[in-house]
Subunit: 272 residues, 2 copies
Amino acid sequence: MNIGVFDSGFGGLTVLRALLEQLPAANYTYLGDTARLPYGAKSQATVARYAVSSARFLVEEGAEYLVIACNTASALALDAIRDAVRVPVLGVIETGANAAFATTKSKDVLVIATAATVESHAYSGACAERGLRAYEKACPLLVPLVEEGWIDHPVTEEVLRIYLAELLTASAERNLDPDTLVLGCTHYPLLRANIERAVPASIRVIDSADVTAAQVASAIPHLKVEMWSTQNSGIQGSRLFYATDSVTKFCRLGAKFLGQRIDQVTLVDLGG
Amino acid sequence: MNIGVFDSGFGGLTVLRALLEQLPAANYTYLGDTARLPYGAKSQATVARYAVSSARFLVEEGAEYLVIACNTASALALDAIRDAVRVPVLGVIETGANAAFATTKSKDVLVIATAATVESHAYSGACAERGLRAYEKACPLLVPLVEEGWIDHPVTEEVLRIYLAELLTASAERNLDPDTLVLGCTHYPLLRANIERAVPASIRVIDSADVTAAQVASAIPHLKVEMWSTQNSGIQGSRLFYATDSVTKFCRLGAKFLGQRIDQVTLVDLGG
């Protein structure tokens, strides 16, 4: 079984990390569209064009199941990707909404994400389908702060304080009683501890990486069995990494998100 | 005379603004490659590919003279652009180094720019050719802060304080005695007042927009004559704007950089 994992850059490696823990026996092909990132401030048409070409590449490379690990691509391009390829496609908006549904008691949910994800209101829609109310806020500075490496940094603390205060004020004005905050961008799990410190203790912070991996596992039951046997035997599947820009940068920055070394990345040209 | 002005996005509009003041009679065609921005964290190969396709587009649209208003593209792709088109091409690294040469007395110059521009050491090279020593520092958070609109904001003041303190410390360790700071990214002029407050009064802050416009004017002498006659008559040339992503966003964000309304932008697909 070959699982293709797609992200605009490095953030999707947090989803791959969860997949490797839960399904180590599968073969993985990861693509980071680093030449065209970030997607988060671009239009629906452009994001869909980039995501479709990326998804097609993964299927041509043998992926039998696609995980769209990029929230922006999941929000803006999931239908376009499903129209373009003939394999099952799972997006992280859906799995994030599932995680929120499983967590919230008040049925009121907060979401922080990129500008493009928020403007699409994909999370609001997915939450509404599950009987939840969601309030979404764009936090455009968080991705650059993570990429600058300012994780435990006073500037990042202050930016989070400002964004989260605005989020909580706006949600209170709408008479919401949120108990759950969804990290709607795969860069944000690297700031999880900072975010948990910045919100009231009554609010649980969730990211979709673990629940995405669990949903893949349940969608492919035979793989789960295989997983247990290989976890015992220590055998693991292959991991192939592709990027559309500098492979040295991918190795260096990607390791932070994956939580382990990345030794080999292949450069691929998707046009542009 | 049709002058093509190219930038990865909106920043080059600060250069166009200076050109409109100094050469209002010329016709201008501006391209912002907004679908593929930012260039500042990408590799030389990718930036060159994007910049060459953009330059070719402007020449096909009738540009007889190209101003590469993007520091990253000027630093990484000027030779590739000159090889690809048959019109004169001016880059802002060269004009920025000229401005530094005209300003500095100590012959020691500081440069702040994107990561890609700094890693290319294009400013150091251009300064060395003029007998100047330059120390360059990447400031990756400044572009996102400008695009978030946090111009007069405590977080931006703090980020500048950190970056500029690191810059001054590193230049002192190298026994430099800088009296000039070059803004090596076209977003930074929007933070000029903040930057001037954050450095010692002995350091003059310069950006290449005015000197670039002056250099274009001197390269095209007949246009300068024409300029005076039309400034008197009030006649001005045409201004055409193209972008590779959302035209509504280009109008909204671009106006901040150009200092005037942008009413019409045409979407263009350069592939990718």
